[in-house]
Symmetry: C2
Subunit: 350 residues, 2 copies
DNA sequence: ATTAGCACTCTCATGTCGAGAGTGCTAATC
DNA sequence: GATTAGCACTCTCGACATGAGAGTGCTAAT
């Protein structure tokens, strides 16, 4: 597709633009990257690359800047993410230390996710995102109900993966703690090991089938379970907005505000990440490839973590189009694999 | 201290600076506020106010801008926060609607706090902060332990006020659910109604006193309780960082980044709010009065909410020095009172 | 095919200038 | 004696010009 030297030039431009954030000129390329030819030659090649849509010029006489297509080519064919760790020993070290720590955290998934987002963002200076396991892939472990004051019940939901969720429910006052225990016992004995969503549909089906002839307790159980598992909003973990503000890419406020808004209503990110979930390997979405309006102009590097073969959730880095893809890919890959590993360990032990 | 007309001028300057964010000149004052005298007179008065330290000039020939001292005088003597609601019917309406909604939320304190921060920030465009009740003033209602996998236990802590906290504990594998139930039953029967901190010190004392001759169960109970109530970090609720970025005061990035950082490590805010807590009525800290380095240049309007006479926590608005104090004071006052009211209702019902 | 040379273009920092806004001071006025 | 009108003065800000610097495209030579 591109001859060797053109590739080298493209790589040079992408890499030095990522580092310096300044349009890169032909002279600079010859100086920093020993390609064995003069600026003029580079200029010709660059002109070709521009015609092909890989590079562009901010104005007539500035250096070149990669286009989305340029980044895409770089990521697909020129990146060396696999060996990134070899070059940046410090980062590799960080990641290693972190993965070891993660393995020590054990079953407190919420805690783990917080750690992961923080690690992602602080090591990369981009925005770290972690999507916890989706309800259709979380396995119900047990639910408990605690009576609290006259008409309130606290539901505590545990999953095999370790996510704890709790919710305060308003119930009609007729429930005693005894009732609640029976409901919980019923749900636990009957449904432990299935996914949250499975259970939901099973319960609904059951209710339809045997409608009238149904134990009062069970109808109650269904109702209360439904209320307990309807968690307001699919939540995810974010961190690093503040670090990202330090990047020179976002020196103007308006961009930042956009991003903040996008993250605040979560909708856009959720949508994007959902599209990326399930596919294995690291996914990269660059700039305007982004299907979601609010995130155009940002790049996303994401990877799905799994329990065995079952995809659970997604971790991602969101940064400027000019992000250090090699680094990001390396990190996301390493950490998602690490998360998967902790899941395996867990299931082994139990 | 200041004759009537000087006060009027000071008020005029503060108010129009708050609205316009532009240095206000003598001509403008005579036009907008009918004080019955000419620009020249105003100039003289302004010069006096400047000598007294209430106003300052950004440069020789710009209008005047209030100093911290100026704002302070305004807040103390010129504000009309009490009747603020009369002027801004829309806001009053908002606050009313919101308080009514709050009363409907009931016992889900966490949910309530989220609502409150959101309301604070969205109605004011400043940063809303809510400090939940401190451990020394939260009343233990009950604790439950749920056995989860081999060596993990989930502790669920409920307080009278409705705060739910849960934590996954690693315990030695010897515990059966029976054991856990007995421990919980012991703690619940013995200590329900006391504050979290009281209980902690009581337990420690007990353990010391009767050291050797102590039921194995109880020593375990103590250990497990301690672990369960040691919550990593005193947390509080924040919202509105993104809105505040829209304010012209923060058009330069660096300020925003500072603030973000301050909020991120929470330490500074915690420290400040703690200093303000317990005092009744609305507290105002203006700009450099702020004892905490990171927050200098910002103003804080805070108020303590109570259960009966016992102070529970603090709500606050953080904004630029040039914030609309009357409005902020009105809001913080109204909402903190409303929170207190919901506490009363709750205790009545139970 | 590559390269040296050169004219050309565009940005950016700097400097100058005039308009506009607001002040301080002085002298006149009520 | 307080207030006001008038005026010179100061400072900011945008518009405009200028020149240095960086980088290009093209052409002719290698």
């Amino acid at each position: 597709m591109l001859d060797e030297r053109s590739r080298q030039v493209l790589r040079a431009v992408v890499q030095s633009y990522i580092n310096k954030l300044e349009p890169v000129g032909s002279r600079f390329v010859t100086k920093e990257y020993a390609l064995g030819c003069s600026p003029a030659t580079i200029r010709n090649i660059m002109a070709d690359l521009e015609d092909l849509g890989f590079l562009s010029q901010p104005h007539t006489s500035a250096g070149r800047v990669p286009t989305d297509k340029g980044y895409r080519f770089y990521v697909n064919f020129l990146g060396d993410a696999g060996e990134y760790g070899e070059q940046d020993a410090e980062l590799k070290d960080c990641v290693c230390r972190f993965t070891r720590r993660l393995e020590g955290i054990g079953s407190d998934l919420n805690g783990m996710f917080v750690e992961v987002t923080n690690a992602l963002s602080s090591m990369s200076n981009y925005i770290g995102v972690v999507m916890p396991p989706r309800p259709e892939s979380t396995t119900f472990n047990r639910i408990d109900f605690i009576r609290y004051k006259a008409d309130k019940v606290v539901a505590v939901l545990l999953t095999d993966e370790g996510v704890i969720k709790n919710k305060m429910l308003s119930v009609d006052a007729a429930f005693t703690q005894e009732d609640l225990n029976r409901i919980a016992a019923y749900l636990n004995s009957e449904y432990s090991g299935r996914t949250i969503d499975e259970i939901k549909s099973m319960l609904i089906k059951k209710m339809r089938q045997e409608k009238a002839a149904w134990d009062k307790l069970i109808t109650r159980a269904i109702k209360i379970y439904e209320e307990a598992t309807s968690f307001a909003e699919e939540d995810f973990f974010v961190s690093g907005l503040y670090d990202v503000m330090g990047l020179p890419d976002f020196s103007d406020m308006s961009r930042i505000r956009e991003i903040s808004r996008a993250i605040k209503d979560k909708h856009a990110i959720l949508k994007l990440i959902e599209e990326l979930s399930g596919v294995s390997g690291v996914q990269v979405v660059i700039g305007n490839e982004n299907p979601v309006e609010e995130l155009k102009g940002l790049s996303v590097v994401a990877s799905t973590y799994k329990e065995g073969e079952r995809p659970m959730g997604v971790i991602a880095l969101i940064g400027p189009t000019r992000m250090d893809y090699s680094k990001a890919i390396y990190m996301v890959d390493a950490i998602s694999k690490c998360i998967s590993r902790t899941f395996e360990q867990r299931t082994e032990v139990v």
